[in-house]
């Protein structure tokens, strides 16, 4: 496009090629800012690690609390056979027991006005356990419990309105079990009592 030998152009190019002189003070300010930003990034990483450590510790504590609560509230399993000793971890006074803490927070965030109640049931030999009650229209498919492979305990988190509810467990779609640790709910209609679950607001 142009003649490289043109003297005018060569002079102009020569004048433009050298970098302008950098102000040492400005250079120092930039270096300080870069160092500060690097330190801030390091601090952010440290905080994330700390948060994960705290969260991990809290999870371990909650798990330990669950184990303790379950071991305190559950009677020992019967020897052999299909031991079916149900219990409900459901403090009427709110989410005070460790077993309900995590689930309660999650449930309230999902459905305002409702409360979560964790249900634990011991039936090592059962193939399927459901919680039924007025809160799920006595539907065995609504609140199926899941079994922990290590402990063999069945558990489930119910989402229920505050108030008085009647519930029971159905084992293998055939065995009706009320919770002996909760007050009995007489059943004048069908003669098969359930258990009372009183759920207050958080």
């Amino acid at each position: 496009m142009h003649d490289e030998t043109d003297e005018t152009i060569i002079r102009i190019a020569a004048a433009l090629r050298p970098l302008p002189e950098v102000d040492p003070a400005q250079k120092a300010r930039v270096l300080v800012a870069v160092a500060a930003e690097r330190e801030r990034a390091r601090e952010r990483r440290r905080r994330v690690v700390q948060i994960w450590r705290v969260a991990g510790g809290a999870t371990l504590l909650a798990a330990a609390g669950l184990v303790v609560a379950v071991s305190l509230r559950l009677p020992p399993a019967r020897e052999g056979g299909k031991a079916s000793t149900p219990t409900v971890v459901a403090p009427a006074a709110g989410a005070r027991a460790p077993a309900t803490l995590g689930a309660t927070l999650a449930g309230e965030a999902r459905t305002a006005g409702f409360k979560t109640v964790q249900v634990v049931f011991r039936a090592p030999a059962a193939r399927r356990v459901s919680v039924v009650g007025d809160f799920n229209a006595w539907d065995t498919g609504s609140d199926a419990m899941s079994q922990d492979p290590v402990t063999g305990l069945w558990s489930h988190t119910l989402v229920v309105r505050p108030g008085r509810h009647v519930y029971a467990f159905v084992v293998d779609d055939s065995l009706w079990m009320r919770d002996p640790r909760s007050p009995a709910a007489p059943d004048a209609d069908f003669g098969r009592p359930g258990s009372v679950l009183l759920v207050g607001q958080p």
């Binding site: 403090p91 007025d134 229209a137 498919g141 640790r181 069908f190 009372v196 607001q201």
Partner: protein, 238 residues
Amino acid sequence: MSSRRWSVSTALVPMIVGFVTPMALEAQQVAYAATAVSALDSVTQAAVARELVRARTRGLPVQPLMAKVREGQIKRAAPERIRIAVAALSVRLDSARSALGPTSTAAELVAGADAIAAGVDQESLRTVRTASGARDLAAPLGALAQLVASGVEARRATRMIVELLKKDAGPRELLAFGMAVETDVGAGVPAEESAVFRLRAIETQGVGSERVTVAGAPDIPLGQTTTGRPSGGTKRKP
């Protein structure tokens, strides 16, 4: 017989879906409710259908009646008992609405019907409604039903619930009160004595205090509370 059953089922399922859908139930529950009723024999289906139509016409919630059908099925009750139970629940829901007012929610009507089943009369329901004002009635009525089921005389239990409502007790206090009395009764304390003691404890410590809440926890027997035991201590006859 089989063709009659088919025709009843065929007519019933869309009708049930039509009843329940406006109540904003989830699709799963709609399908479930329809299945529950269609599993009955044709005679019971027809009788239950009549009850549903009657309830719907009177503006009563239909879903609790469906749930009663399913409850009967899961408890392996005879069809005739299921029919009678559905009809009885329909009457209780109607009574509850008469007492609680036409603007009552479905949950309040169900709680009222449960309270009536426990032995609470309409006048008591009216009293609780008046004392509650605009607050939701499910918890007060649940606590009332529990007190009566525990053995506290209905009118006396109503006065206690009203007293707590006047002190702005919330659902947690009310239900903890009911549960505490039940726990005491299970431990052998006469229901009336326990109720008086627990009510006095709440009044002494103040509504909403942590100690009241703790005292109401199911696993804490009366003897462990810091305020002492109720007088007497004679065990309830089984």
